[in-house]
């Protein structure tokens, strides 16, 4: 079974080394998609024996994710794992994440920070509120009943990854993936994962970051659906 780890990265020079050391010990196929970082992200990533794809200009996390997924599909990956570069995810969670797909139970596995009880108490209040609202919103918009809608840690089977069509280049791809799961009737489950909140990761993270970022992403998402 070929497992590919797809990591979109934009200006992550401070943490990318740690993320890669953590993953490199456990996985063979790792793809970094550098979304035109201004810092040393690429130089650091290239010190590892991994694949680095480079966007010439910044196109957003959704776009970078899609580039990585397309490459992995081209290499006939059996399982594609999406992983955030900001060091909030843990390599040991990936094994639990890919297991249901390897066992042939489901096509999509979504990481959830709320299934893990000790974990959910660590989540900052503002993020918790936004994430809970997102769960309610998702019930209506994507018709999926899940506990954590915006977790960057996911695993997709080859079949799921080839069916999911991402059109949102920026942050709204999180909801878009869920829409696509419903639309293509892909089987899915949630698996508990740990999220580490550091000062660093708090400055990233799209919609959770502040209210105006949240409104902007929501607007993009709704317009995207309207145009489609």
């Amino acid at each position: 079974m070929d497992i590919f780890i797809v990591i979109p990265a934009y200006n992550e020079e401070k943490v990318i080394r740690g993320v890669l050391i953590d993953l490199r010990n456990n996985f063979k196929n790792i793809i970094i998609i550098d979304d035109a970082s201004d810092d040393k992200t690429v130089q650091i990533a290239e010190q590892f024996d991994i694949l680095v794809l480079r966007h010439l200009i910044n196109r957003g996390q959704g776009a970078a994710l899609k580039t990585g997924i397309m490459y992995a599909l081209n290499q006939k990956a059996d399982v594609i794992v999406t992983f955030d570069a900001d060091s909030q995810h843990h390599a040991e969670d990936v094994k639990n994440l890919v297991k249901p797909i390897i066992d042939g139970q489901v096509e999509v596995v979504l990481g959830s920070r709320f299934l893990n009880n000790d974990q959910s108490s660590n989540i900052p209040v503002y993020r918790k509120i936004i994430l809970k609202l997102a769960v309610i919103f998702t019930k209506f918009s994507s018709k999926l009943n899940i506990t954590d809608t915006h977790n960057g840690l996911r695993a997709l089977s080859f079949k799921a990854a080839s069916k999911i069509e991402l059109k949102q280049d920026r942050m709204a791809h999180g909801s878009e993936i869920l829409d696509e799961i419903y639309k293509n009737k892909l089987s899915y489950i949630e698996v508990p994962v740990n999220i580490t909140y550091t000062n660093y990761s708090m400055t990233k993270g799209g919609a959770n970051q502040n209210p105006s970022a949240f409104m902007k992403i929501l607007f993009k998402y709704l317009l995207g659906r309207f145009i489609k």
Binding site: L53, H55, M70, N74
Partner: protein
Amino acid sequence: MIIKILVSIFVLFAVSRVYLRYRDGSVRVIAFIVWLLLWGGIAFFVWWPKFSDIIASGVGIGRGIDALVYISIVALFYAMFRVYIKLEFIEHEITSLVRNLALSDKLNKIKDKRDNENEKKDISSN
């Protein structure tokens, strides 16, 4: 009276720009005619505002100038929507260009490496 002259001068300026665009081929005949009608209409209503009152009362709006403002706003919103769609389309085109460059760069390198290795093999087998 001054406003009539000022608007007329601006209309002439705008029409001359449209004509230049048409002549160098960046505006098609249809678009050229639409722009001419639009600017001509503006000039017409500035000189003969009474006509807008007739149209306005026909559709149940009190003053002609109000009708013009309503129509303009609707037209502007529609134009904005068109521009927005166009922009989204261009953004997607740029993304797929950037993506294909990133992918073809890597896939070519892998192919080159393989070709080189095959060449070496050919040379050593000879």
